[in-house]
Amino acid sequence: MKTKAVGRLIVSVAVFLFAFLLIVAGCGGEKGLTIKSGVLMMGSDTTYPPFENMEGGKAVGFDVDLATEIARRMGLKLEVVPTAWDGIIPGLKTGKFDILMSAMTITPERAKEINFSDPYIDSDQSICVKKGSPIKDENDLKGKVVGVQLDTTGQFTAEKMEGLKEISKFDTILLAFEALEQGKIDAIINDYPVNAYMSKIRGKTEVVKKIKTNEKYGIGVKKGNEELLKKINEALKEIKADGTYDRIYRKWFGQPS
């Protein structure tokens, strides 16, 4: 009697699980353009103003505005998935989101792992110091401690410099600015727009030198998803052509591109 009851229980649980799986599978069943139908999910390290940061629980910034516009033109709604910087490429590859847009410089190493859209902004590196610092350019950085964000082109640029005392690698650029303002580090090497923006809003630092690196940001798409990449490039072209891009650029950087 008892074994019969147990057997029935197992059967019913199995049936339930099977039904559940069918439903779940059905949801993702129709192979759409994006992971969640009607939504474009964008992975982004939202600690990087003015490109992306959280404000009142909402992601804002240049990348966010641009991505919203791209999504709109594709008939999709944008959803930002805040993601730590060092987990962002693995996140894209493992399908946590559809696109990666996080002020990411296009590099050959990264291009091996993911596909990049056409570049959407030029971004040179720059040296940022505390106001009144004697450091004026790369030569003054010899024997100094330079702060960067872990795994960014800022770090790679700093690593190519000779004679630095130390490179302090921070998880977020906000922490690097905190350290710079407290005199724990001597300079920050980071993307020019960000250094300029942070200095403007925090008021204690200044950009003293632009370093031409011919860097460009791109939107990352998982390899193999060529259709999505094509649609993004088309939307991007349209946005640039009809003046929408300039409007967004001016909103965040205060000057035309």
Partner: protein, 206 residues
Amino acid sequence: MPYLLRGLLLTIRLALVSEACILAFGLIVALLRISRIRIFRAFAAVYIDVIRGMPLILQIVIIYFGLGHLGIGLSKFTAGVLALTVCYAAYEAEIFRAGILSIHKGQMEAARSLGMGYLKAMRYIILPQAIRRVIPPLSNEFIALLKDTSLVSVIALSEVFQRGRELMGTKANVTPLVGVALCYLIITIPLMRLVQRTEKWLSRGD
């Protein structure tokens, strides 16, 4: 791999220096916690509660950046050691306290009846017995500490975990993380075995 191993050295150095400070400070807090002087007891109780009620990563950021705002500039290493010490001393103080209280009160009375003062009795009679009992739990705390040193990467200390994440970024794959895992495991697994054997050995002595 040598890049990771150099990070591992920093991890070990952080853990060892911190542990030395933690043992000393934790014992002091434990003695304050069981002191007959009310203010000492209250101070230790508040300290233990406050610290244990906060995430370690927050304490690290507060000590490095927060104290910086107050004009107290600490090096990354010092700040890391200080944060780990402040945090772990609270836990280890409780372990010390439990160890001391587990010693039968007759021991203290016998020592006192021989004319030993409280501190002498503590030092020669109570602590030597208590410390034997707390070696296993303290060793487990040390293993936890070794793992928690990874949190100091938040203040840009380039220990093994940060180096792993860095390599993951540049190589854009996850194999460096496997390397980091191995780095921790080659230390923690032998330590865990050692703790088990010590536990057995100590219980045989009872």
